[in-house]
Symmetry: C2
Subunit: 491 residues, 2 copies
């Protein structure tokens, strides 16, 4: 399909991360640009990654009482307006359907930018008694937000895939536990499936989901020093319950408003995955999410062809039988070097090379995609050995990302230090903050960095003790600090 | 949540099938009506059934070379117009997005009614050489068709869930094999998962998918005598390849146009499932697709409570360990009669009743949902026995539907016989036909029955020999017959 020159990555991750990212996405066949700006086509190799994320989350959701459902793609304008904060929050970003066939519609329909305002009315219908609570629903769907920015596949697209969970609870505390349980599960998916460590915290009040009591967030640090919001989980308080009358009769026979939550993770997680681990040879994937965990590449001359191919086929069969996702690349028309490059580009975590030597010695040569580390192992225990190497590769990727994160959280005590540190190093700057948006704006205007999270109170934090004791001052305005803020540039 | 009087079905399947169907859908908690006419909300019990269909088809697709992908929700108007037959076919049914945020769009975007015209341009990009073929993609998504008719959940909704497969092939024959392979897989899903027998055939030329070479179809007979189009698989010939330039370089180094197919199954399959097996007590589900395959209902008095509940919990645990989807209904506040009614309404295929007698005798009483048949079985072999009974229930459902189908395919030799037979019995009428749409229109105008399929030539068929020999005459106009047609009223 493509010549060797088309196959390889030509951009540098370090020097032109934007172009490099776009090239990896296209050449690893994850996605292509659609004809309309802001839209992409997700190809099988990209969509398969999304299916793995879906299955990983669904298993956790199902084990904790969540049921999948499906709500309409369209939301009547009047429903959005029922929740004034929602409509204010999303109005500039909504795509509107105005015509069905040749007829103009009586009421415009929003293509869902998020579904609180169509789901809450049904929670209201379905919840009658305290016995109906907690009620936990989730849907996997696409949403549309008409943001007028450049397209960056998975990071910034007008249509994106996500899951959105919506729950109702008797008490404030139950809703808070739910909010945190989902944040925990998102964190588990980032760490376990994607090998990406994250920071946890909440958004400053001025950056919460419209109408929410608290917006909690996971933030992942990209190698270029920018932060990615990895997932959010909102405690919506009683805002939506009040607007849409989600109420229940409690044991005391009185009617009470429910407390609701919503939480979502989008295909931006794929963007973070690609950006975090990949390199100038192409995509790098942790084994748990890789469509092919292992590629077996036989290396033969005419006189060794039969024995090498037989041996390689046996290895592939054993791996397949053991439940390892394996691909045997026995194409005759391509040489081993071409195959190495192709599977490196596509991110296969582990390569098994088999030549006449390996056959003679009853061995295998294993090569790790992330760093090229190789090992010679016995043929006999191939399935077990492969599992161990896959775990090692996942751990390697996690540790590298964790090291990057640890090295890039810095403290700053003054406005100039915030600006200087982010300007020089990127990453996160942790600083005492008075809670006023104006102080964030001052930083944002100068270096496009903003407060991506405020840690939860129980986090370990250098400034926190002082902040809690009322003894620290805002690094920007000098007034009394009430929180610790993490500033960063972000996607 | 609801009193006993709200729980039961009040409409009769025989006397008011439309109202009965709507009541089953709502009371079994499969779906609710959305605020906008033509849209529904799919509740967890309904969506779970759709997930089972998805998994059943995905397994077959994956085993035969299909990969899942995701294409944009919107299609630019000019793309639809590239394939004039598509735009003519769908123009009156397209929902149009005209505004993004506060801006009017330069070009209107269609909410996808089907995706041939956005997928074909990418097939064109991705196909270069004969080595890239066959190329097989599928997506699970929702589509919108603005049909101005009454809403009937799963059967007739403006937005519906489906999968759409799109493939490209070197040769006409390869595309034809693909078309038939997918029809076979759909048939397998109907028979194996849904316990519904189907008829196979093709649509008359005037009723093909816009631009298709051949549209093949599965038709299922509903108990009210109407036919449901269960799935379609289209051989698109070279129409789309030509319009969107899907071409490849063959071994002869010349460029050739590809041959494409598309095939889809929608949540209408859920409508057929509900309609076929359910009854005046509510939903009936075959065990393979049921969210709970077995409900265990313990029956106790105060003095037997502990032993009965222990015993019942043990049975449920054993079934769960054996991979059976089981629910133990040990609610204290409901009596057994209430529970029976509730689980019958919700369609659980098998009930296990456990009272003091069963405990004393080390037995179980099993009751089949479809017909109330009961059996006393040994406790010891509960998992195996349950499996056998589940198979029996699935077979029972299939046989009942098959008998209904076999009894309702009738032959007719004249226009009056067609009208009279369908008018009196419903079902299918098989008759020689000249191939002219006008003859179908005559029947349609009088009794709203149309030609739902023309059998494949290799089918057993009473008239076919005569038709092929040129010796039969069209039952309607008396001219020479060229095909056998199946007339039916349909959904």
């Amino acid at each position: 399909m493509s010549g060797q020159q088309d196959l390889g990555i030509t951009e540098s991750k370090e020097h032109s991360p934007g172009e490099w990212y776009a090239e990896v996405v296209r050449k690893a066949e994850l996605a292509d640009y659609a004809p309309m700006g802001g839209f992409i086509v997700t190809r099988p190799r990209g969509y398969g990654l999304w299916e793995e994320i879906r299955d990983h989350l669904d298993a956790q959701f199902e084990a904790t009482g969540v049921e999948n459902a499906y709500f309409p793609l369209f939301i009547p304008e009047s429903y959005l307006e029922n929740e004034k904060e929602i409509v204010e929050g999303f109005d500039p970003e909504v795509a509107w359907v105005t015509h069905g066939g040749h007829e103009e519609l009586d009421e415009r329909l929003a293509v869902r930018p998020t579904s609180e305002s169509i789901i809450a009315p049904f929670l209201s219908q379905w919840v009658r008694s305290h016995r109906d609570l907690p009620l936990r629903l989730n849907q996997w769907c696409s949403v549309v937000r008409w943001e007028a920015t450049d397209t960056k596949p998975f990071f910034r697209t007008k249509e994106f895939l996500w899951q959105e969970g919506h729950t109702a609870h008797r008490e404030h505390d139950g809703a808070w536990e739910e909010t945190m349980r989902r944040l925990d599960q998102y964190e588990h998916t980032y760490e376990d499936l994607l090998s990406i460590p994250v920071l946890r915290g909440q958004k400053p009040d001025h950056d919460k989901f419209p109408g929410a009591h608290t917006t909690t967030t996971l933030e992942a640090l990209m190698p270029d020093g920018k932060s990615v919001q990895g997932a959010t989980s909102h405690h919506l308080g009683q805002t939506f319950a009040e607007a849409f009358d989600v109420a229940y009769i409690d044991e005391d026979e009185n009617e009470h408003l429910a407390h609701t939550t919503s939480w979502g993770l989008s295909w931006r997680a794929l963007g973070a995955l690609i950006m975090t681990h990949s390199d100038d040879q192409g995509l790098v994937l942790p084994p748990k999410i890789a469509p092919e965990q292992v590629v077996v590449v036989p290396i033969w001359q005419e006189d060794t062809q039969e024995e090498v191919l037989d041996y390689a086929a046996g290895v592939a069969r054993d791996l397949d039988d053991a439940g390892v996702r394996v691909h045997l690349d026995d194409r005759d028309e391509r040489n081993p070097g071409f195959k190495y490059n192709e599977w490196e580009l596509k991110g296969v975590p582990l390569r098994i090379e088999i030549g006449p030597n390996e056959v003679a010695e009853d061995e295998l040569t294993l090569v790790h995609r992330p760093d090229g580390e190789s090992a010679v192992e016995s043929r006999e225990t191939v399935a077990e050995t492969t599992r161990e190497h896959c775990e090692e590769i996942a751990a390697k990727l996690y540790v590298a990302a964790e090291t990057n994160l640890a090295e890039n959280v810095r403290d700053a005590e003054s406005r100039d230090e915030i600006l200087g540190t982010i300007g020089q190093h990127g990453g996160y700057v942790r600083t005492p903050w008075c809670g006023n948006e104006a102080c964030e704006t001052e930083i944002k205007d100068q270096i496009a960095a903003e407060i991506v999270l405020v840690p939860f109170e129980n986090n370990e934090d250098k400034h926190l003790e002082g902040v809690l004791a009322g003894e620290a001052n805002c690094a920007i305005c000098g007034e009394q600090a009430i929180e610790t803020a993490y500033f960063a540039r972000n996607y």
